[in-house]
Symmetry: C2
DNA sequence: CTATAATATGAGCTATCACTCAGTTTAAAT
DNA sequence: ATTTAAACTGAGTGATAGCTCATATTATAG
């Protein structure tokens, strides 16, 4: 029997309390991000992260239960940025404008952090990241379902707001990830307009 | 300087010629598939694959240049199956029927091999798999563009057949992967009908 | 000033891994 | 029957990885 770790492998073991230790945690996350982009997940060892961060390996394990937790935290912060980028504007009246707002914000965000976004999808074992995904969806999904219900008269008939919300979110996320991974040079305005056109046709008709 | 490997890291070093060695290669691929599903990519060592396959580690390296090549071959074969599943039927006259044919074949295939499909996306380093992706698209894309051009009168105006083909393929692949990874229980007929409805609206109107 | 908690250190442990190679066995070719 | 090529073998190698822990330093609290 191997040692059982009581808390999640993907969360911080302990929150830094003093200014010094907060800086250490930030430096570790920054170093891990750089190394992920430079040499990839596999070659990024915890010792190397600590070295680049100017911290000791012991300090790293003081705050993170393991390698995966570091990247899960990076992913969580990226997801939070995406969320904020969409959520900072007022909610428009029409479904069309809602779609345009959210999707352009999303595409712009992915394009402006393309390398990191791709590296996180490509290289980080997804199981370390499933929680972050679930968290994001839990925030996003009820929010948008509510928005759709309030605009139900604009919806095509037979469209269930709750089904449509998950469907749209997954179409958008899946499609953008696919382009980011395999055809980043086609992740342009023409793509965005086509995506919007397709989704508007689906939701509004 | 590390040793330079002359051929691709993702292809077979040597093709088995005799019946015995062909069986060895098949056993290795089968064992690797099982272990991927049972314990994941990282824990699946080449020694363990050889052990499960009833072959020696030396034989494994006789045919595969490295661990990644084994999984690239598994992926290549899966892709070929998907392609055959779509391509075996005659090409229908209407775009709607074309979409229905290809997409139901694709969804059915993914559902019937869900665990392996998910494991290949989740766990296998994508760079080992990028070639297989490129190969698949090279076959698929011109084929479908040609089919669309022949049905241009059915297309909504302003839809470029070549752009639309890539767009549709990536929407489908991305969306289905997203559902397979994060909501496999929602990968059902209702999902398929909505996807078809959306794409038909986009292409035909 | 003292006691206690927080933070930092890094040598070293255990484990495992991908891969090599010198030699043997089996099949095909002549 | 002999030669040659194909296939197989598996102990061993070098490298590196994630992680622990005993100890030391710094900050906060009373």
């Amino acid at each position: 029997m191997l040692g059982i770790k009581s808390k999640s492998l993907f969360e911080l073991k302990k929150l830094p309390k003093q200014r010094r230790s907060k800086a250490t945690v930030e430096a570790i996350l920054e170093a891990a991000t750089q190394l992920l982009l430079e040499i990839g997940y596999d070659k990024t060892s915890t010792n190397r992260i600590a070295g680049r961060a100017g911290a000791s390996i012991g300090s790293l394990y003081e705050y993170f239960p393991g390698k995966e937790a570091i990247f899960a935290e990076i992913r969580r912060r990226e997801d939070a940025k995406i969320y904020r980028a969409s959520a900072q504007n007022a909610v428009p009246d029409t479904i069309s404008d809602m779609l345009r707002l959210h999707i352009t914000a999303y595409v712009d965000f992915v394009r402006s952090n393309l390398d990191l976004h791709v590296a996180l999808i490509r290289e980080v074992p997804q199981f370390a990241v499933a929680n972050a995904e679930a968290e994001l969806l839990r925030i996003y999904l009820p929010l948008s379902t509510k928005e759709l219900k309030e605009r139900k008269q604009q919806l095509r008939k037979n469209r269930s707001p709750s089904f449509a919300t998950e469907f749209i979110i997954r179409v958008v996320r899946g499609t953008i990830s696919e382009y980011a991974l395999y055809a980043p040079e086609h992740l342009n305005d023409r793509f965005t307009e086509n995506l919007l056109d397709m989704l508007e046709g689906y939701l509004v008709g």
